[in-house]
């Protein structure tokens, strides 16, 4: 077993045009900046991977991370709950120009669709969005006198995840609220690629403390002192 990639460039080298890419993070917390930028740099050099569908809670902030992907022109569609931020220009301009597609999903439904995708559950019913525009066209059913909306699983070709610790078998821990969607996305992608601040020997993470078990992780790359998206944005605007 060798899940370790020698570099972020190597870790993302087989992501191809048109793939569905889940990217962990909520705002800046948990955004795997180094993996994303390795992908952006490859696109700028080679024109690939383009026409990506990106799944994230948001749709980029400023000009780093997902916003950099959008500015580069490699994103065809965003699946997210809240495409606004302190500086949403990258997405907003392209969305209003009709150059990028948006699938708006309520935040809890987004989380549960990803969870279902990873758990082999093709659809589920939720009270969220019943009677709203978001539920249009979706099947509705009544359970115990209350109406619920059917939502489908969400799966991806690739997930890009930022972890705190990874052991060589792929067991992960996260840093504070940078966890958010990442443990779900790790389960729902065909290939889960993780950047970790430190890679340890198996056994160094107490099994009681493992958040994402290694079965959900395909590839690990060590990024010591990773950039934090929010901190990066604040440096830029200083």
């Amino acid at each position: 077993m060798n899940k370790i990639s020698p570099s972020v460039e190597d870790a993302v080298s087989d992501i191809r045009d048109g793939m569905v890419v889940m990217i962990g993070g909520f705002g800046g917390a948990g955004a795997p900046i180094e993996l994303i930028h390795a992908l952006v740099e490859r696109y700028k050099k080679t024109g690939s991977p383009g026409r990506l569908t990106v799944v994230n809670n948001n749709a980029g902030n400023g000009a780093v991370g997902i916003a950099a992907m959008i500015y580069a022109g490699m994103v065809a569609k965003m699946v997210c709950s809240f495409p606004r931020s302190s500086d949403p220009k990258a997405f907003t301009e392209r969305y209003l120009a009709g150059e990028i597609e948006l699938e708006l999903v309520p935040q809890g439904t987004l989380a549960e669709r990803i969870r279902a995708g990873g758990a082999g559950i093709p659809a589920f019913y939720t009270p969220t969005s019943f009677g709203t525009l978001v539920a249009e066209g979706k099947p509705v059913a009544e359970f115990d006198g209350r109406k619920y909306v059917q939502e489908r699983w969400l799966k991806a070709d690739v997930a890009l995840i930022k972890a705190e610790l990874a052991d060589k078998k792929g067991n992960l821990t996260y840093h504070k609220a940078a966890r958010n969607f990442s443990p779900l996305m790790a389960t729902a992608a065909a290939v889960t690629i993780v950047q970790a601040s430190r890679i340890t020997e198996p056994g160094e993470i107490d099994p009681e403390h493992v958040v994402t078990p290694g079965i959900f992780v395909n590839r690990i790359v060590e990024v010591v002192d990773p950039k934090q998206e929010e901190a990066l944005l604040r440096e830029v605007t200083k």
Partner: protein, 223 residues
Amino acid sequence: MTAKLTNAQIAWRAAQDIPDGAYVNLGIGFPEMVAKFKPKGRQVIYHTENGILDFGEAPPAGEEDWDLINAGKKAVTLNPGASFFHHADSFAMVRGSHLDVAILGAYEVAENGDLANWSTGPGSVPAVGGAMDLVHGAKRVCVITDHTTKDGRPKLLKECRLPLTGVGCVTTVYTSLAVVDIVNARFVLREKLATISLDELQALTEATLVVEGTVKDLVVPEV
């Protein structure tokens, strides 16, 4: 022009009804202000969608950890006994009836409890976040809002005109003029400012305000 409560005073009033030991989610923006007015001696545990229970106040400037934020992407701190969890667990807390109180802002509320607070219609980038989830599951779903729009039109309506966030989901509305419970698809007036008559309040409210028993004076300190 009738005297009315400031936003801080509306937040103060809503905070008085949060019981000791409650698990509470405060929406982004105005509802976050409610935390400032928690009555002394009560313990309230705050939930944020992005996976924290029991977060505390903002840290001093310069001491932020940007991996420790609330749903509004503001830096927070942790209270002893705080916990982290992923997004599916976070929304299990929301939809699974584990939260005691959710407090949200509103563009419009209808007498049957319908809420519109996420979209002002076409022409902008739509963004819903966790609002559509939060209105389902909390035992009490409270709205804090000005009683009317900036140009004086009622926000408490017979039917919402803007796109809905949820159907029949609101339990109590705290406004700049009154406290209104939603009971059996009617607005039941519980409190109003002493300086406004029932007729004047009704004139600023599209749907009928039902009076059951006594209407108390809405009394709020300067805050």
